[in-house]
């Protein structure tokens, strides 16, 4: 098991290196650099050229890349042009917000998809199944950013049940129970919007897995042993059907990253997704590249997590 995990982690190193090279080259290919546009046009172009030389912007790209990586390892992601503060500090504030939002969304995704998928798969081709599959098709067809807007308008503005922005109400003291509840209260609507849309693929997937598994021969064996229907579903079908869902977990995280970009902007939730969209619109390159790198690493970690989970639950690929 440990051997497998270590080997799997080692594979990540070339993946991350490749990712960083790609991001760096793409950032370099974008027009302009750290000095253009930011500096007073009245400054002597010679001074700018001198500054460029001093900052190493005229070096060949691989030397610049090496310097960038060196800084990365020292925890220096550069300065944000817009906020005039180190990127690490800027992201640090928002990282926790996004992580909590994503976690809540994940919990909601599975809280919705597992019961719905189970019912839909067990009672397939009944009216109940049709209602659930109907919902999944609507979910597939609805763009997240439109759905989130509708949710915001209806539950946030029309009914006023939920706050329409921010991550916590100003004035609530940090560290208290009330503070935690307030944070969750602020996250609930964005998380629910995201979960309701992104969960549909998992519902469908689980439904198909269950329909598939219940026709397998070993289910007949279980029935022939005298197992009751509920035991067959709980003991034999559920576990076999959840395996592929576990494998899907990493992709779920990738999907969440895409989701937070929209949802955080719509709900003005101060997280990384919102920052990402802002940094692109405002050409805050160092922030945009750092965030792309972080999102990329999160995706790779998600895949790692999937593989480890799968190797834990599936004896056929479990390495002793």
């Amino acid at each position: 098991m440990w051997k497998f995990t270590v080997r799997r982690i080692l594979i990540m190193i070339p993946q991350i290196i490749l990712l960083s090279v790609l991001i760096f080259i793409m950032a370099k290919m974008m027009p302009g650099d750290a000095l253009s546009g930011l500096i007073d046009p009245n400054i002597d172009p010679e001074t700018i050229a001198e500054q460029r030389e001093k900052l190493g912007l005229n070096d060949p790209w691989h030397i610049q890349y090496a310097n960038w990586v060196k800084d990365l390892f020292q925890g220096d992601l550069g300065m944000s042009f817009r906020y005039k503060m180190p990127v690490t500090e800027l992201i640090g504030q928002r990282l926790a917000n996004t992580v909590w939002l994503s976690l809540l969304t994940l919990v909601l995704i599975y809280a919705i998809s597992i019961p719905l998928g189970l019912i839909s798969g067990r009672y397939n081709d009944t009216w109940l199944d049709r209602v659930i599959t109907g919902y999944t098709y609507i979910g597939f067809a609805t763009p997240l950013f439109i759905f989130a807007l509708v949710m915001l308008w209806f539950f946030g503005f029309t009914l006023g049940w939920f706050p329409t922005g921010g991550s916590v109400q100003p004035g609530v003291e940090s560290g208290t129970f009330e503070y935690v509840m307030n944070r969750i209260y602020h996250m609930l609507l964005p998380a629910l919007s995201m979960a309701l849309i992104t969960t549909v693929s998992t519902v469908q997937y689980l439904r198909n897995e269950i329909i598939d598994t219940k026709q397998k021969d070993f289910i007949l064996t279980a029935r022939a042993k005298g197992a009751s229907e509920s035991r067959i579903y709980n003991r034999h079908i559920l576990r076999n059907s959840l395996l592929p869902i576990a494998a899907f977990f990493g992709y779920e995280i990738t999907g969440l990253i895409g989701g937070t970009v929209f949802v955080e902007s719509i709900f003005s939730y101060p997280g990384m997704g919102q920052l990402f969209l802002e940094s692109i619109v405002q050409r805050d390159y160092s922030v945009a590249t750092s965030l792309t790198l972080l999102f990329g690493i999160a995706t790779i970690l998600g895949a790692l997590l999937s593989d480890i989970i799968l190797s834990l639950v599936d004896p056929r690929i479990r390495i002793k």
């Binding site: 021969d217 007949l220 022939a224 005298g226 034999h236 395996l243």
Partner: protein, 331 residues
């Protein structure tokens, strides 16, 4: 005759296709006694497995008519709770493909142990484990303690089939249904499994229904044989009579289709055509008539019945009296 364990009377199992019901098992009557092997033979798709599943109550959405009297109790329309008390306890089933018949995520010990647990919840875990290891030993698995903790994918096909058998006999059932238990295994393993089943039959005094299309298996195992075609039994007799004196055209064709290693040069006999699919089964007249077109229509009965031509030997339709192979001279 010894005591009848299972008595099936006019069993009809129908499946719904679109809005109509089609009978996959049509008017089947048979008995199985204790310590007796009844073989059911026929081509693929002639209703053998559908019959076995009806006896075990494993059909989900089928209409079952007639009687299935097991130890005097009619199971034809028993409720799921009644079934789950009988299945695995008084009746065990051995499945065709051992590679898929075991849950890939459960260790062998738990899979067999589940059969014991379901019918006797008072047994402690330790006792159950001892029982399972006993069973594994009984079906000839080496190192049962180690196999107990293994997963199905760690065992070979033959070993897995032994596990399937151990599961089926976990509660000493009185009736064992084996649905082509050796089809998926290679020949050397086949004979080991058959020997095992014979021995178990003697040990447990159980009745066995053996479903197969392998006449070699029938000759080795069976006491009596029922030949099925298109959902009906066309001939039933004890195994010697059936092999020595087959009467129904289908039985004779089947026996004639067995490769003969004495005459290497002779061509293999082939039965023309295929078993018609469920929706297109002929519902009137002799169902086999379409595959022996050289026999005159008048030879068949309009509504073929089973005729007892000698004690314990039944043949359906009178066409057997006029049957000959196409290459034979007409007398």
């Amino acid at each position: 005759m010894s005591q009848a364990l299972l008595k099936i009377k006019n069993l009809k199992t129908s499946f719904r296709i679109k809005d109509d019901y089609y009978a996959a098992v049509d008017d089947v009557s048979l008995t199985v006694n204790k310590n007796e092997v009844l073989a059911i033979v026929g081509e693929s798709g002639c209703g053998k497995s559908a019959l076995a599943f009806s006896i075990m109550g494993l059909h989900n959405r089928a209409k079952i008519e007639g009687n299935i009297l097991f130890k005097g109790k009619d199971l034809a329309n028993a409720s799921p709770t009644e079934w789950s008390k009988i299945r695995g306890k008084e009746m065990g089933m051995i499945f065709q493909d051992p590679l898929t018949a075991l849950n890939p995520l459960m260790i062998i010990g738990d899979q067999i142990g589940e059969a014991i647990y379901l019918h006797n919840k008072n047994i402690s875990k330790e006792q159950r484990k001892l029982k399972v290891i006993d069973l594994l030993e009984k079906v000839g698995i080496p190192h049962p303690e180690r196999v107990y903790d293994q997963f199905p994918h760690e065992l070979s096909g033959g070993m897995r089939q032994r596990v399937v058998i151990a599961t089926a006999i976990a509660n000493q059932p009185e009736l064992l249904i084996a649905d082509e238990p050796t089809t998926a295994l290679d020949v050397t393993i086949q004979s080991q499994i058959l020997d095992l089943m014979k021995q178990l039959k003697e040990d447990m005094d159980a009745g066995i229904i053996m479903i197969t299309h392998d006449l070699g298996v029938v000759a080795e195992m069976a006491d009596r044989v029922a030949v099925m075609y298109a959902g009906q039994i066309v001939e039933i007799a004890d195994v010697y009579t059936l092999f020595e004196n087959p009467q129904h055209p289908y039985t004779r064709s089947l026996l004639n289709s067995v490769p003969n290693n004495k005459e290497a040069s002779s061509k293999l006999h082939v039965i023309q055509g295929i078993v018609p699919s469920l929706q297109f089964l002929p519902r009137k007249g002799c169902r086999f008539s379409a595959r022996i077109p050289w026999i005159d229509v008048s030879a068949h009965e309009e509504n073929p019945q089973l005729h007892e031509i000698e004690p314990g030997h039944f043949v359906r339709c009178s066409c057997y009296k006029h049957f000959h192979f196409p290459e034979e001279e007409v007398q």
